[in-house]
């Protein structure tokens, strides 16, 4: 049994205090302790991007992060992307452009796209593709995801 540690951080604008095992992954903490199950574990090895969340403005694989490393950070997860006005433009474009099939990769994709566009609001097609390099989608062949991102970037 590993030691338990108290941490405090903000998730989607709300302050959270949790006690986590020292070895717990951030993804497990989000999913199991905070019931934020949008981020998925599809590999647990940092190879697929399904668990992507944004930490202090940077997209990370939460399966590779320790929960304790979230202490004092500002975390954004897929659950916080939608606003009172409705879907975020990225989410809306994913729907309208058919970028979602099984949807298992989608939360991670949306977070990664958000990060890519925050850094570079006018990406070329190649930059969009490179931005998604770490996110595996087995259903769509990425074309519709790239279309959706292109649409958001151009509007």
């Amino acid at each position: 049994m590993s030691a338990k540690i108290d941490i405090e951080f903000t998730v989607n604008g709300a302050v959270k205090q949790v006690t986590v095992p020292a070895t717990a992954s951030a993804l497990d903490m989000l999913r199991d302790q905070l019931d934020l199950k949008g981020a998925k574990e599809a590999c647990g090895e940092g190879e697929c991007g399904a668990c992507t969340v944004i930490v202090d403005g940077v997209s990370v694989c939460s399966c590779l992060s320790y929960a304790v490393d979230f202490d004092g950070r500002k975390i954004e997860t897929i659950e916080g992307v939608q606003s009172d006005e409705g879907l975020d433009p990225i989410q809306q474009a994913f729907v309208d452009y058919g970028a979602v099939q099984c949807g298992y990769c989608t939360p991670g994709m949306v977070m990664q796209v958000k990060h890519t566009l925050d850094k570079n609001p006018n990406p070329t097609k190649e930059e969009i593709q490179r931005g998604l390099e770490g996110n595996v989608c087995r259903c769509t062949g990425y074309s519709k995801i790239i279309d959706a991102v292109t649409e958001v970037a151009s509007s």
Partner: protein, 772 residues
């Protein structure tokens, strides 16, 4: 004042988003992997570390003592029933293990930590047995026997003969004889394997599963559980992809049930990604010996095919792929004389299941590259040779597939024109003569696939129950499963179109076998065609019932009425006769004449089973496709960069523009992986690359531009003319890439994937013009 209702734009062919997409983009969808039931235990499997061994003892005494462990299932305390296509697979192994994925025990506990600890403490003693990994070796006299009751290691065999191959060979001007080695690939669904089993106090089982064939699943699961199939209720929560991998019962599912029974609590058993690579089914690998002959004028004279399928330790659907492979080998292009023989010997490798394309991926890799080789041998161009042998509409193949509206020649011509194929092909061939590091290449491949269901069971049908509520909304209870492919959108469109109600007023219910009417399952590119027909017919029946009632009320005859925009209107002028919801309520609450709008439909396609000689028109329709790949090869690094894939396919009719393009693009990505990068490396029965780092699925930067061109020839038996489409995009790209690579560097690869390493090795081995 008369209310005029304008005719809305048709939804057929529209870019209609999947109804479940909004929940998916906000992270709200609860996948099976996300589910938690009250008092649910978590479970994992103790697997073997041997590939062929006698089990001497399994000791769980230490594991049982781990705090938090609630149940351990082994062969000893579990039902003895078997699973698999040949019922040769005991979910828990008691006497021996036959491949590396074999299951020794299931452990359920309060936490994953406790379960992992217990797994480590289970002690198994083995006596290793001699091994065999190669299918031809496994057939040899004296080879180690994998199953004692399968002499000679022989699993399933398929044989088909038509015409006189020997005579045709003697009369051929050119004969090519080739050997292909087709590799292991795996589905890599993004949602790892997961199942939840839960018994009620009557002893009835509810199983939450990722299956893509819920109804026959019960029948296949029951024998392993010692309970009647009728006591099983199958719930299908949203799943992270399937692609054919969930078309059988696999050991982890009954194991979860055994544990739930022992624990008397819900049990969730799930896979890690590593397990997903090692212990889920693969695509069937195949060694193919093929001979093809032709006359000088380019007329194909015969094909002679012998296939060895590496069955692995147990038989799932992989071993049955010759049923599909054969249709292409014997019937793609006009093949007057043909023999096809296949055998699937047991070995100590993991075993294969079904995977999108089902044997046609392998068949097309072989036939489409062979067509190119033969064209070159004959001094013809790849287009001319194919057109010479392409069937005309109305022809039948040797296995009796009726190619009613065969669009093969059109697919070839259109794809060639769109890409300026002949000019580029000649140019790139010529360019090989001069030095240069980067070579351009263009290649074509074609195939044919069932597109109106596939009658492999006595029924290939699908049921629909459609009810209208008192507010004019439709609930469509369909047997068809949604696995991400988009049948939810298609059925919504079809029903909305027929009933003249907005798509948001259509609800699809299809996740509970206790409610849904029977369906074969999601496979064989059948769902839009079969479930689409079923849903549309149900909607038409409901419409007739509604219009008849409206006619009685309004004194306008039913044939002059139609449903439009939530109203019953007069066809000719759009004048509303009544609002739909008001009419439905009036029908419903009419005292003694009360009438509920509630219809059912069971659609069975007009197709036939194969006879024992494999002759039969198994599908109501067939579809062709021609895909052209343009790429460049870096002869120094062996890197292949895809520029563009132009896909021309006969689809009958586009129902959902987004859905069909999404299926095309997604299928093409898997096809590219098959041709270029994906291989599950299995050495001496051990999976060597069970992770996304070493098993290379295609990622966004590698995707080329994709241009789809749909030939819409309105299939008379399809819903609004549609055919099934979703496997050809995965079937064809590999071969078209191989032909393009040949065009670029003059080297053939009969052993995909065509990796940079293989290219460099081939070029340095001097089989082609040396790289500069």
């Amino acid at each position: 004042m008369d209310q005029i209702v304008e005719k809305p734009d048709t939804l057929i062919g529209a870019a209609f988003p999947k109804p479940d997409a909004p929940d998916k983009v906000v992270g709200k969808t609860t996948y099976i992997n996300d589910m938690v039931l009250p008092r649910m235990l978590v479970a994992k499997i103790k697997r073997t570390d041997r590939v062929h061994a006698k089990i001497l003892s399994v000791d769980i005494s230490e594991a049982e003592k781990v705090p938090g462990i609630v149940a351990i299932a082994t062969a000893e305390n579990s039902p003895k029933g078997l699973i698999g296509v040949l019922k040769d697979n005991p979910p828990l192994k008691g006497d021996k293990v036959r491949c590396i994925r074999d299951e020794i025990a299931g452990v359920a506990g309060e936490t994953e930590e406790a379960v992992n600890r217990a797994l480590e403490l289970i002690k198994v003693e083995y006596e290793d047995l001699p091994t065999v990994f190669d299918p031809e070796e496994a057939l040899k006299e004296g080879a180690p026997l994998i199953h004692e009751d399968k002499p000679g290691n022989i699993g399933l065999t398929f044989d088909f003969e038509h015409g006189d191959v020997k005579k045709a060979e003697a009369e051929s001007d050119v004969v090519l004889e080739e050997k292909y080695e087709l590799h292991y690939v795996t589905h890599t669904c993004m949602g790892p394997g997961c199942v939840i089993a839960d018994f009620d106090t009557h002893g009835k089982l509810t199983i939450y599963t990722q299956t893509q064939y819920p109804y026959n699943y019960k029948m296949d699961l029951a024998p392993a559980l010692d309970i009647p199939a009728g006591d099983i209720r199958v719930i299908q929560p949203p799943t992270g992809g399937a692609f054919g991998s969930k078309l059988d019962v696999y050991p982890f599912e009954p194991i979860a049930v055994y544990l739930a029974k022992i624990a008397r609590r819900p049990v969730k058993l799930f896979f890690s990604r590593e397990e997903e690579f090692i212990a889920s089914p693969t695509r069937q690998p195949a060694r193919v010996y093929i001979k093809q002959g032709a006359k000088k004028d380019g007329t194909i004279t015969f094909r002679d095919v012998q296939v060895y399928l590496n069955n692995g330790g147990y038989t799932s659907w992989g071993a049955t792929i010759p049923a599909v492979m054969m249709r292409t080998m014997t019937g793609h292009f006009r093949i007057p004389n043909v023999e096809f023989h296949s055998v699937a010997p047991y070995t100590n490798n993991p075993f294969a299941g079904s995977f999108r394309g089902y044997g046609n991926v392998q068949a097309t890799y072989v036939t489409a590259t062979l067509m190119d080789k033969m064209a070159e041998e004959l001094g013809m161009d790849p287009i001319e040779f194919r057109l010479k042998n392409a069937q005309e509409p109305g022809e039948r193949t040797p296995q009796n597939s009726l190619l009613k509206n065969a669009a093969l020649a059109d697919c070839i011509k259109i794809s060639a024109e769109k890409t300026d194929f002949l000019k580029k092909h000649a140019e790139y061939t010529e360019a090989r003569k001069t030095p240069g590091r980067i070579r351009q290449g263009i290649g074509i491949a074609t195939s044919v696939h069932n597109a109106g269901g596939a009658k492999i069971h006595k029924s290939d049908g699908c049921g629909t129950i459609l009810t209208m509520d008192d507010y004019g909304r439709a609930t469509v209870i369909t047997g068809a499963s949604e696995i991400g492919q988009g049948i939810d959108a298609v059925i919504t469109q079809l029903v909305s179109e027929e009933l003249g109600i907005p798509p948001s007023d259509v609800l699809i219910a299809n996740d509970d076998s206790a409610i849904g009417p029977w369906d074969v399952g999601v496979h064989a590119s059948r769902t839009t065609f079969i479930a689409g027909n079923s849903a549309r017919n149900a909607a038409v029946k409901a419409k007739q019932q509604i219009l008849a009632a409206a006619a009685r009320q309004s004194n306008v005859s039913a044939d002059k009425l139609e449903l439009r925009g939530g109203h019953v209107v007069q066809k000719d002028n759009g004048v509303s006769v009544t609002k739909l919801d008001r009419l439905i309520r009036a029908m419903h609450f009419a005292g003694e004449d009360a009438e509920l709008v509630m219809v059912s439909e069971y659609y069975e396609p007009p197709s036939e089973l194969e006879d024992k000689n494999h002759v039969g028109d198994i599908s109501a329709a067939y579809a062709h496709g021609a895909y052209i790949t343009e790429l460049e090869v870096d002869t120094l690094t062996g890197g292949v960069k895809l520029h563009k894939i132009t896909a021309v396919q006969d689809v009958g009719k586009v129902i959902n523009k987004l859905g069909i393009e999404g299926q095309m693009e997604g299928g093409i990505a898997q096809g590219i992986g098959y041709g270029l990068s994906e291989e599950l490396i299995i050495e001496e029965g051990i999976v060597k690359n069970p992770n996304f780092r070493d098993y290379k699925v295609v990622t966004a930067p590698e995707m080329p531009e994709i241009e789809c061109h749909f030939i819409e020839d309105d299939e008379e038996t399809g819903p609004f003319g549609a055919k099934g489409i979703s496997e050809l995009p995965c079937i064809i790209p590999g071969a078209s890439i191989a032909n393009a690579v040949y065009n670029a560097i003059g080297v053939r690869f009969d052993n995909p994937p065509i990796t940079p390493e293989k290219i460099v090795r081939a070029l340095h081995g001097g089989k082609a013009e040396a790289a500069e």
